[in-house]
């Protein structure tokens, strides 16, 4: 996708993340400048997680998701959730823990899932930037209330 089109779509989506949403979900928006969407999750149990979504070529490609600590440093290890979405093993291409969930670049490029094409879900309401973030938030909330 042309960069201007990718940037425009990115900005259209993230500008809808209003104060009510951030407050209701305990989200902190660290950055929303194309191609980076940097969002922190906070829970009542005091846990926090920061996800950095690299959204270059959105939405021809799904976002690449990195785990960061609250200060913005990449995490070399993460809590693995029971469903296996937060995968602590090194991704074959990045060598880092990764998100193993449809809609995330590291899933679609993993040798186990290369047959599960992003193009088949691209554009669906579940797979907007907000939809993907919401799915990840629910994963995280399943073990941090």
């Amino acid at each position: 996708m042309h960069e201007i089109a990718a940037r425009t779509l990115f900005e259209e989506e993230v500008q809808k993340f209003g104060a009510e949403l951030l407050e209701a979900r305990g989200w902190t928006l660290f950055a929303k400048q194309y191609p980076v969407l940097d969002v922190g999750f906070s829970s009542r149990d005091g846990a926090r997680l920061r996800l950095r979504l690299l959204c270059d070529d959105w939405n021809d490609r799904p976002p690449s998701v990195q785990f960061h600590d609250w200060e913005g440093r990449p995490l070399g290890a993460i809590e693995r959730d029971p469903s296996g979405v937060f995968n602590n093993s090194p991704h074959p291409y990045t060598g880092q823990p990764f998100v193993c969930m449809k809609g995330v670049r590291e899933y679609h490029t993993h040798p186990s899932h290369v047959g599960d094409a992003w193009q088949t879900v691209k554009g669906a309401d579940r797979f907007t930037l907000g939809g993907i973030l919401t799915q990840l938030w629910h994963v995280w909330r399943s073990f941090h209330k």
Partner: protein, 92 residues
């Protein structure tokens, strides 16, 4: 003695990553109204075309959108978080 029957109502708003419904404040709805009726209004206003597989959460509790606000034990002023449920792991 004259008896006045007032249908109970509550105030609700729907919060999504596509925006908030209503845009400002809260919408007054009957407690007997089904939750999905309000969500359909939100979908139309916020241009959400296919909310299949989405869940509604109030105060950290998942609610049944096919039931009424009353049946879900909701009253007063509420905020419904509406969005896709968590994705499944790929077991890579």
């Amino acid at each position: 003695m004259e008896h006045h029957h007032h249908e109970k109502s509550l105030e609700a708003r729907v919060v999504t990553t596509s925006g908030v419904y209503p845009e400002t404040g809260f919408e007054r709805v009957a407690e007997q109204e089904h939750v999905e009726t309000l969500l359909k209004k939100a979908d139309e206003k916020l241009h959400i075309t296919n909310p299949a597989g989405w869940i509604a959460v109030v105060g950290g509790r998942k609610i049944d959108i096919t039931k009424s606000f009353h049946q879900n034990g909701l009253s007063g002023r509420i905020e419904i978080d509406w969005g896709p449920d968590h994705g499944a792991g790929g077991h890579a």
